[in-house]
């Protein structure tokens, strides 16, 4: 049994951790919150140079083909410091959509530029309220022209292109590539619970789009992209949970009340023990997800839902208890706590809420039970 991240991936993770500690302190995300910048372009460029943006891209398309595990550990490190870069959208969702479904021409055109950090992509599935479902999709492509509204779209204000889920005139769900500089697009910034996500609403009026390849299998393809994203997101969330746990732990040791560190009180101890437990269980489930992703296992759907749900629990609990441990300081804008609190909720909704992933998991378990 070797149920551990590979030595290669660990090495990448260690480099990433050191690099991000130095180059992505919390001042970067503060600048995004204060609307000075939209994302950390400097860091993004460095990430390209370090090969991280091409980690999931095959070598023949300009990538470094580092494998799923490396993507996972990078996500974990990014989650830990809330690095303000379009990772979960461009490097995870958009890249995996193009790798899985793009035509060779599209791959040749897009992937090298994505690996080089020259263009940013995002993924537009949501149309307002509701969880992922073909029935929710009203955006329609007819004669190569897209009409519809997509929101919220994370990183929509920094992306150059978007992969869109829409149906065609026959009602079949498909994936489309759309250059965001095309005419007919109105992009409106959206106030989001997590202001660092550059969220927009995209409205399309007769916009020229092209199908992403020609081999999708309708909703199944969308779901598969979400499954892969769920595993990577689980690592990002676990990284965030771990950061919250460490912040709370450090504060509980430093902060004194009643003449003693607040961490010596059982109320604080037991709270943080619970956070530790949730985080460790999430990490273990995330590892299972990474294994399934790496093996492209038939268990991917089950593993992805398990990993993501477990990580949602852990990150949201950790973020909440981190604020509570910080007491009055925790509810100030000045403290970093709220940024994790916002991010925890935001990542728990980005690819569908908990009810959606619960249903996804149960349907897998039912199939196994009856199959």
């Amino acid at each position: 049994m070797n149920f551990d991240i590979s030595e290669d991936a660990k090495a990448v993770a260690n480099t990433a951790r050191d690099f991000l500690r130095e180059h992505s302190p919390m001042t970067a995300i503060r600048r995004v919150f204060d609307e000075e910048i939209q994302y950390d372009a400097e860091l993004w460029k460095s990430m390209a140079e370090l090969g991280w943006l091409g980690a999931g891209i095959p070598e023949k398309f300009g990538g470094f083909e580092l494998g799923g595990e490396v993507l996972c550990v990078l996500a974990e490190e990014i989650g830990r410091v809330l690095a303000p870069v379009p990772f979960s959208t461009s490097v995870s969702l958009a890249t995996s959509a193009i790798c899985a479904h793009g035509s060779d021409a599209q791959k040749c055109d897009l992937l090298p530029k994505m690996a080089a950090g020259e263009i940013i992509g995002t993924f537009a599935l949501a149309e307002g309220v509701g969880d992922p479902s073909p029935a929710r999709i009203e955006a329609v492509v007819e004669n190569g022209r897209l009409n519809g509204n997509k929101y919220p779209v994370a990183d929509g204000s920094v992306a150059d292109f978007v992969v869109i889920v829409a149906h065609d005139s026959a009602g079949d769900i498909g994936l489309y590539f759309c250059d965001l500089s095309a005419s007919g697009i109105t992009s409106t910034p959206i106030e989001s619970v997590d202001p660092s996500r550059n969220t927009v609403s995209l409205s399309f009026e007769n916009v020229e789009v092209e199908p992403l390849g020609d081999a999708w299998q309708g909703w199944q393809s969308v779901q598969n992209i979400l499954d892969q994203a769920a595993v990577i997101l689980a690592f990002e969330q676990t990284g965030g949970a771990q950061a919250c746990l460490e912040m709370a732990r450090d504060y509980a040791i430093e902060r004194y009340a009643f003449g003693r560190p607040i961490g010596s009180f059982q109320a604080v101890k037991h709270k943080l023990a619970n956070v530790y437990i949730a985080t460790e269980l999430a990490r273990s489930n995330a590892y299972y997800g990474a294994w399934a992703l790496g093996e492209n296992s038939a268990e991917l759907a089950q593993a992805a839902a398990t990993a993501h749900l477990s990580a949602c629990n852990a990150f949201q609990l950790a973020a909440r208890e981190n604020i509570q441990t910080h007491g009055g300081m925790g509810i100030t804008w000045e403290a970093d706590c709220h940024m994790y609190f916002r991010r925890a909720k935001s990542l728990g909704l980005e690819i569908g809420g908990s009810l959606f992933w619960q249903e996804r998991l149960m349907s897998q378990l039912e199939q196994q039970a009856t199959g």
Partner: protein
Amino acid sequence: MDFNDTPEEAEFRTEVRAFLQQHGDKYRTRDSFSRKNAKEWQAIKADAGYAAITWPTRLGGRGGTEIQQVIYDEEERHYELVYNVFRVGLGMCMPTLFAYATEEQLERYVEPALRGEELWCQLFSEPAAGSDLAGIRTKAEQDGDEWVINGQKIWTSFADTADFGILLARSDFDAPKHKGLTFFFLDMKSPGIECRPIKQITGDSHFCEVFFDDVRIPDNQRLGKIGGGWKVALTTLMNERMAVGHAGGPDFEEIFALAQSLEIDGQPAFKNGAVREKLVDWFITCQGVKYTNFRLITALSQGQQPGPEASIMKLVGAEKQQEIASYGMDLIGMGGNVMDKELSPMAAAFQDSFLFAPVSQVAGGTNEIMRNIIAERVLGLPADIRIDKDVPFRDLPTGPGK
């Protein structure tokens, strides 16, 4: 067992309704922190004898009962007239003055406070002394007939606009923690005071930090003895109004409405068993809080004083707020992050509440302190081991953070 007023209560309620019907609509507000209209409304209340129902008449009150105050509050709530701006002054500062100020001072300060002409604030918490209030470090040094104040306070509502404040400071760093405190009131326009709004997690600023740089207070504005400040502070804290069960933000009604308006798998969301179970849980809690409140009101109506039992309302309310807000966002699904009022269901009430909920769980006593209060004061469990009671304050460990 009935939900009806006694004849006396019913009569009072009729009076209150007539009063509110006559004046209420004009002063409706949705911003309970606003001073707009608040002052004028307060004067009208004072003239009609509703500004301080339980105060004795010699102090400008009505000499009424706790239950009359409850009835008035119930009725006023229908008009959205609950201005928070005078709550600290009338609910906490004035009762402290009643107990410790001179007759001349009462003559000078009570009426303007009651009529909303002068606004008061409370300068208690400090960055290093929140739950552990007696750990404050703001220094008060005696200089002839005056005291010189240096230090920093935090979480003071309305500090930037208040006319006066009550202040707890440390006059003796060699005495044990609770013995070295002295209590004052002061003019907030005194030289050396600087107020800075604190931006909260929600982006709003409802509180201030207050910095004291050689601020001078005449000794006749000291309340209680030198070194007796903790006793005075306890009087202030005992007068915190009975906590309400509703922490603000969406409650059962709203999440039920949301679950009726949204769909899961083509069905109204509330048809889903998982959603139903959550709704039932919140309904039960919500009803439990409502009827616990009725029991407390009944006790007041029978002449009892509010006790620490009311802590459960604040605790349960704050936790429910957090859960409901978070689950509402889950129900909204991928659109749950959206805070634009036009795009998000129910004008983003769930998202707003989600960000405010952590404030509810900390402000006015953290959940942990509330549970301590219930365990010790209601259930009679023994206090925790205290190592900070008998040593000189300056020798107490304050940790690497200081």
